[in-house]
């Protein structure tokens, strides 16, 4: 059976965090290389990690043809793109895939980042063939890989992706917050609506979007998911658009995934804190009776599924 090779080039959320206290897990913002055996090359997000990936791709001395999936356009997910050297080389070909925003389309979003006010080189100076593909929540196929996308709970339009290739499933959810942090999960039975006071049902109704997310992740061979916070930190940061590790672990258990990677590390967390989140996550999995492999994402880490 053919494999999917996943390499992490950037694992940090929000802002790069160079320095001795983050040297083991790494300080570059999100970028993941996904090579499908005998299939296409996908790049997930274009944080500062994409710069090193670009250098590596150039060393191969072959034309680069890749699909760059952008989960959304907060700085940490696009700030590496102007420094991605293969994009400046004629003969290479990139398809940038992501959601439009309400008032600007994908092409404009990426071009604006290279407006001369912000960056001295324009997107027109990128000599590679660069195409844009705007998507929403949909399913499509690229060179034998089935791609599914889903809007996440994060400010703006953030997408999660599920890739299926030769019976293997990879799910990438970089930035996501529990869908219902404020209420208990009891969903009333609307069929009983005539028997109860409507107002009471309405007041307690919480849309069960978490169920949709569980189905989206179900049976993945590898789930890469936001786990930025400790639970106590999350209580102070509800509506920031990120998850506490316990939510991420529970999602992995409910979705019955085979391996979990904790991603989008908090810029305030040093290596020791990430060690702790990893250990607590492994402990929670063990206690749940579903002790799958679980690691905190680390720059340079390679996983084959």
């Amino acid at each position: 059976m053919k494999y999917i090779k996943v390499k992490f080039w950037g694992v940090r959320g929000s802002i790069p965090t160079p320095g001795p206290s983050t040297i083991r897990y790494g300080g570059n913002t999100p970028c993941i290389e996904v090579q499908f055996q005998d299939g296409p090359l996908f790049i997930l997000d274009a944080g500062t990690g994409i710069r090193e990936l670009g250098k590596q791709l150039l060393k191969r001395n072959q034309p680069v043809n890749a699909y760059i999936f952008l989960s959304h356009y907060h700085w940490d997910h696009i700030q590496g793109l102007p420094f991605f050297r293969p994009a400046y080389q004629a003969g290479n070909r990139f398809t940038i895939i992501g959601s439009d925003d309400t008032n600007v389309n994908l092409n404009e979003i990426i071009s604006f980042q290279m407006n001369p006010t912000y960056f001295p080189v324009a997107i027109e100076d990128m000599m590679a063939d660069i195409q844009f593909r705007s998507i929403g929540e949909e399913t499509f196929e690229i060179e034998g890989v089935r791609v599914q996308s889903m809007y996440l709970n994060h400010p703006g339009y953030a997408l999660g992706f599920r890739f299926t290739y030769q019976g293997r499933h990879l799910v990438y959810i970089s930035d996501n917050e529990p869908f219902r942090p404020f209420r208990n999960p009891e969903t009333p039975d609307v069929k009983q609506v005539q028997k109860k006071k409507l107002e009471e049902i309405f007041d307690n109704f919480v849309e069960n979007k978490d169920e949709t997310l569980i189905r989206f992740c179900e049976h993945a061979d590898l789930l890469i998911h936001d786990s930025q916070f400790l639970p106590e930190e999350y209580q102070e940061k509800i509506t920031w658009g990120h998850s506490p590790f316990d939510y991420t672990v529970d999602l992995a258990v409910k979705s019955m995934v085979k391996q979990l990677i904790l991603f989008h590390h908090d810029p305030l967390h040093d290596d020791r804190m990430i060690d702790r989140i990893q250990a607590l996550s492994q402990q929670r999995l063990k206690e749940s009776g579903y002790a799958i492999p679980c690691w905190a994402a680390q720059e340079g880490m390679i996983i084959e599924i």
């Binding site: 309400t102 008032n103 929403g136 929540e137 949909e138 809007y151 709970n153 400010p155 703006g156 339009y157 869908f179 219902r180 404020f182 209420r183 969903t187 609307v190 609506v193 409507l198 107002e199 049902i201 309405f202 007041d203 307690n204 109704f205 919480v206 849309e207 069960n208 979007k209 509506t239 658009g241």
Partner: protein, 134 residues
Amino acid sequence: MSQEKNYDILVIDDNLEQANLIKLLLEQYGFNAKYLTDSSKAFDMILKEKPRLVILDIMMPEVDGLRLCKMIKQHPDTANTRIIIYTGKNYESDRRKALALGADVFLTKPTRSYVLLDAIKNLLLPASDEIYQS
């Protein structure tokens, strides 16, 4: 409010239970409400049926609520439609965007029924009308 008045409200939400619940609630208070879970059909329906008020979810697979809001407000035949965004997305940036696009009210789920009903009352009824007469 008096029952003979016909205040058409269209609820657009991809979650069937949620959409139906809002419709039932509004009907209980005398509003004439419909719902639609397929947002790709929403704009055509709004153009054709011209509801006075639309309640829009944001995160929907076909056409999201903010894009619909923009389409409604930009089309001369529908620009006067009142819009309530009712979303599970509790983010200030989304609220600002919705209001900039012309939404009248931005409510986050879950909310209390009286909050939604008050918002509708403020948008549709003259100040003297009373919607809580049951």
